[in-house]
Symmetry: C2
Subunit: 351 residues, 2 copies
């Protein structure tokens, strides 16, 4: 029976007492073959669907370990800054552990679904009229002054927990050797975690290869691509709307060591891929999660030869978290009377 990531990968995620593990049975997410895209672009593309996690994003992987360690250290409260997914995850694991959870969010640009999560899980929520980078600055100062456990990815246990995604991808691929791991880059913690995971799995002889790490950003918040702080990050992909990635140095190392790259794409390409992924593959993700796929295809269209490459794209968050993106960008169908004849005429039944 699946009991979550610490139970599964205890060797890589040591704890003092297994009775203190705080888990929502996170992880164990599917690796879905992208049939339509693979055929169309002549690649072997798999989708790591992290939206299947308990709070609908990959953040749960790091949160189980960070909150377990907070309990081990007898912490009474946890705190984080967030563009949404971290706060949802912190609030859920905080609730599970019986800890007070405080989250500081940029008020204007957080997806409603993520806000509703933090609310119902019972976190204390402070929305600020400023951006993520400022929220993180405030959280850091508060943790210096008060006895609060920081659960942003500055907390090293977060990265430790998140590295399990690399283990799962490798386990799921079995004998297949992954060429490229492609993922969205916001605060740059996840690319750092995947690289750490692949290296540890390689060192412990679970795999005999290392994939290249490809990190993708939105043009309007491409701090890694442009190698500078973006003062006013802007993108529809709110989950990666971050101008000053905390883990930028480690992420650079991951890309350099693995001979990977950073690349950015437009909001328009994000929107297009969002629709393609849902309507051709049947997979609904939040906008940020489309960046690795839109990015890979953009590279191919720019002349990169990725033919037959085995590529895993990490789909970091569930589409349901940002359903307004759909409701605001597409026309709602118009209601009609429940009349058979009328509906027969409406539907294109002869297609």
């Amino acid at each position: 029976m699946w009991r979550g990531l610490i139970d599964k990968y205890l060797k890589y995620l040591p704890v003092k007492n297994i009775n203190n593990i705080v888990s929502l049975y996170e992880g164990n997410t599917p690796l879905i073959k992208a049939n339509w895209l693979s055929k169309r672009y002549n690649i072997e593309l798999y989708l790591k669907f992290e939206g299947a996690n308990p709070t609908g994003s990959f953040k749960d992987r790091g949160m189980t370990y960070a909150v377990t360690k907070a309990v081990e250290n007898k912490s009474k409260a946890i705190i984080c800054a967030s563009t949404g997914n971290t706060s949802a995850s912190a609030a859920a694991f905080g609730a599970r552990a019986g800890l007070k959870t405080i989250v500081i969010l940029p008020e204007a640009k957080i997806a409603k679904g993520k806000l509703s999560q933090a609310m119902i899980y019972g976190a204390e929520i402070i929305p600020i009229k400023d951006n993520f980078d400022r929220a993180l600055e405030i959280v850091r100062k508060l943790t210096e002054k008060y006895s609060l456990t920081l659960v942003n990815s500055l907390n090293p246990f977060r990265i430790e927990g998140q590295k399990t995604a690399a283990f799962e991808v490798a386990d799921q691929l079995g004998k297949k050797k992954l060429d490229i791991l492609a993922l969205p880059v916001g605060n740059a913690g996840n690319i750092t975690a995947y690289w750490k995971g692949f290296k540890e799995y390689n060192e412990t002889e679970m795999i005999d290869y290392l994939p290249k790490m490809y990190g993708f950003q939105a043009d309007g918040s491409a701090a890694m691509v442009q190698n500078k702080v973006i003062k006013k990050p802007e993108t529809i992909a709110t989950a990666i709307r971050i101008g000053k990635p905390v883990n930028r140095d480690k992420a650079k190392i991951a890309v350099n060591e693995s001979k990977g790259l950073f690349h950015s794409i437009s909001d328009q390409k994000i929107k297009e891929m969002h629709k393609i992924l849902a309507s051709k593959e049947g997979v609904f993700v939040e906008p940020a999660s489309t960046t690795p796929i839109a990015g890979i295809i953009n590279l191919i269209e720019n002349g990169y030869n990725l033919k037959h490459k085995k590529i895993v794209a990490v789909l970091t968050g569930n589409g349901l978290k940002d359903q307004e993106f759909v409701l605001n960008n597409y026309d709602l169908p118009v209601g009609v009377k429940g009349n058979l004849k009328h509906i027969e005429n409406l539907i294109n039944l002869m297609d």
Copy 2:
């Protein structure tokens, strides 16, 4: 590597050609121990978290098989009536299979998240100014007249696919013998499917017990409890707002054979349990999914002795599907300036 339910349970879900399987790697959802509730009510309660499925509900279990069979039968289009979850699932699997998908929905009472799913997956959507029961009537008439595959739970392959949830629960419990399987009842397909699954697993000697089936409804749409058609079903639990359950006869048999029961609870109890489940267990579900737990506790409070019973509550749908329920029922936190001093004063740091 997990490749979905048909691949896993092929013996119980036969197909003509495994290359035709249409899967989003559904199933394999966690069974989470409800620590807080178990302790408080002196029961052994587990939560089958079906929100982890690819479209966020248990419907994906039946849809993989129904759509695979539609492909086997060379169908070009699928159609369903839905309170939301079925349409999301049909649209996703239809997209994955490259089939046209038509969904007919009650306009007023469908959760926005579910509508956004059907939209982005590319279904043709007809919202009607009427209720679910009328939508289903229209769909049945259309399938009699045109070459469309019905994928409501009248389609027997839906129930076949859904029975895998019973297999998973039994596998996850291992040597523990389940006493009670508790679940929400709307159209009554799922309770029928679970009972079929447990019986098949028992007949094939995978388990040597059979649990009691407890079906829970909302007071305002308690067609099974009251044993009559409810003409104007009303409840905040939109997923089970059904007055004329299609599978009512089979559901009665499931409850009678297993020595189970039907029971209903108020919308107020649904709302209370929705909050408890999120803030004490860290699990966020759509309102209908709280009925089995609110129902079990209501039974205990009414004098039923369920002490130490092993109970699995099926949480049919992800909370993100009905995030308006949170946003409309709780006060949104108020935005403040990103000022450290001000925020220090706001947060209850001394608690």
